[in-house]
């Protein structure tokens, strides 16, 4: 089941329109991903922290969100300093740690933490339904929006079906092991899941036809026009552009 712990809140970021937050998050994270110098990425990190602070998110919950990212970063820190060519910082036998490797790892760490924080502050602060609505208003093709919303709606149903199948297998004495029988059983489970998902898709489509579905996306969310929205988007885009251009000039 998909939980949306950050989606409910009263901060001004929560009340902002999805179609403002999505491009703002996109512009900021694109600019952060493109920057090459440490002082600049620190500015982005600062901005992302300010945004998280402005959204009044529970700081501990945000750190918990970052946990999977830290595992990925750990892998980078283990591999890159050892394999990158360049000036050696430390050597022990054939193991050597290089300076460019360390710097690159640090850069990747800052960038990824920054981008995840930006998305947590701006995108995770709306429900998936509002996200779909925002994407629709940004003229993303309806098919893609439906794809997102249907995934969100049915992932719990499919998970439920998977658990039911697995339970049925376990009740009949199935214990997963590293052998062909286990692989085969899991392949059957996966196959069955696809069959059921496809049958369900047909039924859902029928149900949609029964209620007059004609391929159009309707939305119920309304947002009163708010000058602040526009100012926020302009500020974020200008800041990203400014930092990007500034970096080209000064460094």
């Amino acid at each position: 089941m998909i939980e949306e712990p950050f989606a409910s809140g009263q901060s001004f970021i929560h009340t902002m329109e999805p179609r403002i937050k999505i491009p703002a998050a996109f512009a900021l994270s694109l600019a952060a991903a493109l920057c090459k110098h440490f002082p600049v990425i620190w500015v982005y990190l600062l901005i992302s922290l300010i945004l998280v602070f402005a959204a009044q998110l529970n700081f501990r919950a945000v750190v918990k969100r970052l946990k999977p990212l830290f595992w990925f970063l750990l892998m980078i820190w283990v591999i890159l300093p050892l394999t990158f060519e360049g000036r050696e910082v430390y050597r022990y036998g054939w193991v050597r740690i290089t300076e460019p490797g360390l710097l690159l790892s640090a850069m990747i760490t800052f960038k990824s933490v920054t981008i995840v924080l930006i998305f947590t502050a701006l995108v995770a602060t709306m429900t998936v339904a509002s996200l779909g609505n925002g994407l629709h208003r940004l003229h993303i093709p309806d098919k893609l929006v439906f794809l997102l919303l249907m995934c969100y709606r049915y992932i719990a149903v499919i998970e439920d079906e998977y658990n039911r199948l697995l339970r049925a297998a376990k009740f009949r004495g199935f214990v997963p092991k590293t052998n062909l029988h286990s692989y085969k059983t899991f392949a059957y489970l996966a196959g069955m899941l696809f069959v059921r998902a496809s049958l369900r898709a047909q039924r859902v489509h029928k149900a949609m036809l029964c209620r007059g579905f004609n391929g159009k996306f309707h939305t119920l969310d309304v947002y009163p026009p708010n000058r602040l929205n526009f100012i926020f988007l302009t500020a974020m885009v200008c800041m990203s552009m400014g930092l990007f251009i500034g970096e080209q000039i000064w460094f």
Partner: protein
Amino acid sequence: MADNTCIIRLEDISYAYPGTGAKVLDHLNLEIFQGDRIGMIAPNGTGKTTLLHTIMGLCKPDGGTITIFGNTLKQEKDFLPVRSKIGLLFQDSDDQLFCPTVMEDVAFGPLNLGFSRDEAVDMAKKTLEGLGMGAFEQSITHRLSGGQKRLVALAAVLAMNPRVLLLDEPTAGLDNTVKERLIRILNHLDISYLVISHEFDFVSAVTDKIYSMENGRILTDADIQIHHHEHVHKHGLHPHTYK
């Protein structure tokens, strides 16, 4: 009760699943009149669901004619205007509720019918409140319980103001409280309906006549006599302790 306007008439309908020769519906005839409240009790696999899907134009019959509200329907586009006038409640509510929130789901039908956003929200609100589900407007659909899902699905169907309801096993997987609620709701509705169910008590509580199906055809009141048996045990003081 029933006046003599025939709203749904099926004549000589035959249907076989593609790839199999076995006929699910075999020269079937059925008439539903304005004000009819028909129950249908039949074993699994007799084609009850197929019958409902044929009425909605979701299954194309191999032969026969479908006349709904006086018009003979042949192609997909003939069925489009009819679908909003017939409400089909699916067996599995998860098939029917596909929007993220309850409100969006119930308003989906009215929006497709061309109502404005405010009108659709208003209709959805009224329907939900009518079913006692007003408190669930903003709930996330997939987090509802089975009974709540069924009632929301019914609201979604009723929000389109159908002239006739087709209910496919509405009580499947529900506990008694929800069943009783459903009985009250159906008995207060002012539209015709056809209920498919396995539960005799439920069907007899909400309908005026009971049909059955056999060999791809419908058996009407005259052909069937569904009845209960009383019985005696010698299993001590509490023979049915599981009840």
